[in-house]
């Protein structure tokens, strides 16, 4: 593992809470860009939620788009600048709740953009409300007695919902430990490789810790990913169009 961060990581004072997973995702994306020599080309679109803080933590030309719309915005960017890698970086609430239509239809059209979806099983920026990815029984500020699947449904699994679509790539990694991060980086890189070959829509979901809103220590919150989240959200590659061909 490298010790020197890529040049595109800014190290400006971070707005992220201690133990947050966003910084890890930034580092992985920046490393992949450097390895692929795309650092000067990447066009990034972030959501307005916690992930928006990345506009300052990386040195890519970046748009902060409306909540839930970064994937649609990324489609607009890519059509105008087809030579550049274009990535939407968003949370699970943006991707699977308010922006579900945008995510789904970008997948249906198989538009050539990369979506990195940070799944922390809740709404972080607004203080830890229930998300489509919240686990059954999960205490959140909007499910104080625990999420009742009878009312709010089971956690949304993008692998189940999207793997039947004609998209280029679909994978889920974890940011809970070194092994998970190595694997996640591989997924991110593969997504960008396919993207640069023009294969179409690539979505990589990353299970990410949010100790603040889970009222946990950073260590406990990564343990929760391994012990509680992964059983609902299996890791791996679910769609790899070229391999199928």
């Amino acid at each position: 593992m490298r010790l020197v961060a890529p040049e595109t990581v800014t190290f400006t004072q971070s707005g992220f809470c201690p133990g947050c997973g966003h910084g890890l995702a930034v580092r992985l994306i920046a490393e992949v860009m450097e390895e692929m020599e795309l650092s000067e080309k990447l066009l990034a679109i972030v959501d307005v939620a916690c992930g928006s803080l990345n506009i300052d933590s990386w040195r890519f030309d970046t748009i902060m788009a409306a909540h839930g719309r970064p994937i649609a915005t990324a489609v607009g960017v890519k059509k105008v600048r087809p030579e550049n890698p274009v990535m939407a970086y968003i949370g699970d609430g943006a991707a699977y709740s308010i922006g579900m239509a945008e995510t789904m239809h970008t997948a249906i059209r198989n538009d050539n953009v990369v979506a990195i979806v940070i799944n922390n099983s809740l709404y972080g920026m607004t203080g830890g409300q229930c998300a489509p990815t919240s686990l059954p029984g999960q205490i959140t500020t909007s499910t104080p007695k625990g999420k009742d699947p009878k009312k709010a449904g089971m956690p949304f699994r993008v692998d189940q919902a999207f793997s039947g679509l004609d998209i280029a790539y679909l994978a889920r990694g974890s940011l809970a430990d070194a092994k998970g991060m190595v694997q996640s980086k591989k997924y991110i890189k593969k997504a960008f490789e396919k993207h640069m070959r023009g294969e179409g829509f690539c979505l990589v979901e990353l299970l990410s810790p949010c100790p603040t809103n889970l009222n946990m220590t950073p260590v406990k919150s990564v343990e929760r990913i391994k012990n509680e989240m992964i059983p609902f959200f299996p890791l791996g590659e679910f769609k790899d169009k070229k391999e199928e061909a």
């Binding site: 890519f60 030309d61 719309r69 489609v75 550049n84």
Partner: protein, 349 residues
């Protein structure tokens, strides 16, 4: 270029391409759908990108991305669909992004109906989305003006790095007239440094976000920007100088009112017309010409007389202002004249 016969909606679409627009994303809704249909085949011919978006929300947010990437980008809708665009329009304003958004107005509230209407004045001129903003609004009254104002809208949008709205309506959108499409020009997506294109090592990263986060003097900057935009008042006046009653109408209604003035004057009734071409900024300057006016009458295809307040502000409420609302129908001169006579009678004329 020779004149051709085009629907108003088609003229808007073709003129957008002539103005260098190479990105469109929209969603079907009557009575603007011809714009989408026309661009679905025509955009490809000029090497641009056309997307039929999954919703108006997606459409406007794709436009935001395309605009940030440097394209001249367009989306179009009507009434209820235009309301959905408001989210993105507000974000375009916040991030200092140019784009053109067309509202081919239809009548009513909620779903309303597909008939022509002018019920979107408030949502067009008041900053219909979240927050503290205005957008420039151009109101064409003919198929030719649909074409001419499209070019102007893109230029203004770039001049101010601000979205510009075109307030067309179903009548202008559906009618066919002879039109001369302005000459084609290409737009360079690298014309401006601020557009995202990839951050070269050692150079400043480009951030397209709410200017509030980045501008050292946000309030001063925006106040000055709006002060300058307020100078962009455009209007036409017809025999206003000696008019005892001045009609105020835009778009298709203004065409009728021009004829109304002629008919009324032939009867000895001194009417005049102020036709706002920019709905925002409202052409306050035009009212200085109304030196003999005793009353003002807005002529609009709506129920509530949405423009009345702006007229009252323009004349500082010194004279009565009323409203002739034809609602579902395009206004007719005899009705307008009857209402004008009634108003003047009340004023003791």
């Amino acid at each position: 270029m020779a004149k051709v016969l085009l629907k108003g909606n088609e003229a808007l679409a073709e003129a957008a391409l002539a103005a260098g627009c190479r990105f469109y994303s929209g969603y079907p809704i009557t009575p603007q759908t011809e714009i989408l249909e026309y661009l679905s085949w025509r955009m490809e011919e000029v090497g641009g990108e056309f997307i039929q978006a999954e919703s108006e929300l997606a459409g406007i947010n794709m436009v935001l991305g395309a605009a940030a990437a440097g394209a001249r980008a367009l989306t179009t809708s009507s009434g209820p669909g235009f309301s959905l665009k408001q989210e993105g329009i507000s974000y375009l304003v916040a991030a200092d992004l140019p784009a053109v958004i067309v509202d081919v107005m239809r009548i009513g509230t909620g779903l309303g109906d597909i008939a022509q209407g002018q019920g979107d004045y408030w949502q067009l001129t008041r900053g219909g989305g979240h927050g503290d903003y205005h957008t420039l609004v151009l109101a064409p009254a003919s198929v030719q003006e649909n074409a001419d104002m499209m070019a102007e809208a893109f230029d203004l949008a770039e001049k101010y790095r601000h979205p510009v709205l075109i307030a067309s309506d179903a009548a202008i959108g559906q009618m066919i007239e002879a039109v001369e499409i302005p000459e084609f020009k290409e737009h360079d997506i690298n014309k401006f440094d601020w557009t995202i294109k990839g951050c070269k090592k050692g150079t400043e990263q480009r951030k397209i976000q709410n200017v509030y986060y980045t501008h050292p003097d946000y309030e001063g900057y925006l106040s000055e920007k709006y002060r300058q935009m307020e100078q962009e008042q455009r209007y036409e006046t017809v025999q206003v100088e000696d008019a005892e009653l001045v009609l105020v109408a835009y778009g298709i209604s203004s065409r009728v009112c021009r004829e109304t003035v002629e008919i009324a004057r032939a009867e000895g009734l001194k009417l005049g017309l102020i036709r706002p071409i920019t709905l925002w900024p409202f052409p306050v300057k035009a009212f200085e010409e109304a030196k003999a006016a005793k009353a003002f009458l807005t002529v609009e295809m709506n129920i509530l007389g949405q423009m009345v307040d702006d007229v009252k502000l323009a004349i500082e409420s010194k004279y009565p202002v009323d409203h002739y609302g034809s609602i579902f129908e395009i206004p007719e001169s005899d009705g307008i004249i009857a209402k004008a006579k009634e108003m003047l009678k009340k004023e003791g004329k």
